[in-house]
Amino acid sequence: MSTMLETKNLTFYYPAEEGRKATAALRDITLQVEKGSFVVVLGHNGSGKSTLAKHMNAVVLPSNGKVYVDGRDTCDESLLLEIRQRVGMVFQNPDNQIVANVVEEDVAFGPENLGVPSRQIRRRVDDALAAVGMSAFARHAPHLLSGGQKQRIAIAGIIAMEPECIVLDEATAMLDPVGRREVLETVHRLNREMGITVVLITHHMNEAEEADRVIVMNDGQVVMDGTPRQVFPRVAELHDLGLAAPATVELMDQLNREGMDLPLDAVTVEECADAVCRAFGIGQEE
């Protein structure tokens, strides 16, 4: 497998301000993200997860260490366009990311800036809108759409640049449950069907259930790294970090403390219900 993103001893300091010392937002982070994988980065506010995300397409450059995007050093300014073309970023606030008055023009903004010929832009915009399920809204005014729809337009704008990787920096935080589901289903589909690498930054635990890999950050460092089934059973550690495990795992953990013996890696609702029923002797073949 080849590597999409790589950080080597990445350290980042926000500059010192008057009366304040420079603080390390990231400390010595070394990690690789495989091409085609779906990675969720969790952590509470101030853990450094957004700062890490911003290093992934050279919005922010390392104070020390290196970041490579598909082998390209983000510190090399001559590679900036290539890097940004490969990694697209979706931010938290949908209203801050829309530049045009018509949806399809907004989606065309990225490829236009890359100098893509106009006939190709037409095709790319149509394909991108279809990929996020927003074709019917091509001629609508973006500001009249819901939050989830706006975020899908933002994602379409990135897909139209034909990137290899999408980084979503708390892109679901401002959305309601339906909007959140729309965006998550969209990025999961892009990952599955187009092989786009996805890095999803969030503090919603349950968004990580279906990820290939979960990275938990605290105080600028990676403190846990594994599949959801490896990370979520570490309930006590998650609590110490100010995070909660998914309610399914929390429930089984509490029942275990009352003397039951349930598997903490039964993360989804159905798995959890199966495990609890087994413990109660229900649902087994007689």
């Binding site: 509470h44 506010n45 101030g46 938290q92 005014a141 009249l144 819901s146 939050g147 989830g148 708390e170 935080a173 401002m174 959305l175 309601d176 449950p177 339906v178 909007g179 503090h203 349950n206 100010g242 995070l243 909660a244 998914p246 309610a247 399914t248 929390e250 429930l251 509490q254 029942l255 009352e258 039951m260 609702v269 159905e270 959890c272 219900a273 199966d274 609890v276 029923c277 109660f280 229900i282 649902g283």
Partner: protein, 288 residues
């Protein structure tokens, strides 16, 4: 008892006369009693935000009425400002509205507009800051030097300093991490308790609403859909799911257990409740 707020057959149409004409709220009714903590929940586009902007007269009904303590708030449009002092509205992402040089001045803006004495303004600013947990020394800082969570608390303090009888909040915890959410909900509860204020909380999070509100109004497609205590509403979890609303994960576990033949109550919305229900069930089985 006279309701604090009564919304009667309210309809609001956006972009009337254009191809985008749309009823954001249609024939809606709502009653909030004095001292009540009401939760409002609904999917995007269900009309929540449009509804609450009518409660202090920011929007005018296309048809229907809004009554505050029995009086139609639009009876005399010139007095609508008085309504806004009594019904405090905290918008989504209120920290975007901070504008003053210091935290103190920002919190003082609302009470200043009410024409209060300087001494009274000072008392209110300090009390509101204390209530939202802002340390004394932050009052002289620029609001723009604070963290996101602190900024939001300053913005909420600015509304609390007007000492509204009714506090209406639109998604006050959106975008915050679990700890930030707990802090904001704690201070809303504190204001509710101290002043016996009426609170209307709009949220996407069923868990949040269920744990804080006495009563829940569920909206769907610009209309009333369901109303009741958290237990009554969660007992109809399957209907909520069909309506595109997010049912807490733990409620979904209870529903999945019931489908598999375990006789648990599906009107649960905390991990503790379901744990206790299961332990009781196990105890019953052991003694059987």
């Amino acid at each position: 008892m006279e309701p604090m707020i009564r919304v009667e057959n309210l309809t609001h149409t956006y972009s009337a006369g254009t191809p985008f004409e749309r009823n954001a709220v249609e024939g809606m009714n709502l009653t909030v009693m004095p001292g009540e903590f009401l939760g409002i929940i609904g999917h995007t586009g269900s009309g929540k935000s449009t509804l609450i902007q009518h409660l202090n007269g920011l929007l005018k009904p296309t048809s229907g009425h809004v009554y505050l303590e029995g009086r139609d708030i639009w009876e005399n449009p010139k007095e609508i400002r008085q309504v806004r002092f009594q019904v405090g509205l905290v918008f989504q992402y209120p920290e975007y509205q901070l504008f003053e040089e210091t935290v103190y001045k920002d919190i003082a803006f609302g009470p200043g507009n009410m024409g209060l004495e300087q001494e009274e303004i000072d008392r209110r600013v300090r009390q509101a800051a204390e209530l939202v947990g802002l340390p004394e020394e932050t009052l002289d800082k620029s609001p723009f030097d604070l963290s996101g969570g602190q900024k939001r608390r300053v913005a909420i303090a600015g509304v609390l300093a007007m000492e509204p009888k009714v506090l209406v909040l639109d998604e006050p915890t959106a975008g915050l991490d679990p700890q930030g959410r707990r802090q904001i909900l704690g201070l809303i509860q504190e204001y509710h308790r101290r002043r016996n204020a009426t609170v209307v909380l709009v949220s996407h999070s069923m868990e949040e609403i269920a744990q804080n509100a006495h009563r829940i109004a569920v909206l769907k497609n610009a209309r009333n859909f369901m109303e009741g205590t958290p237990r009554e509403v969660f007992a109809r979890a399957a209907e909520l799911e069909q309506a595109g609303l997010d049912v807490p994960q733990i409620t979904r576990v209870a529903m999945a257990l019931r489908r598999r033949g375990l006789p648990v109550d599906t009107a649960v919305y905390t991990v503790e409740e379901l744990k206790d229900a299961l332990l009781r069930l196990r105890g019953g089985a052991a003694h059987a």
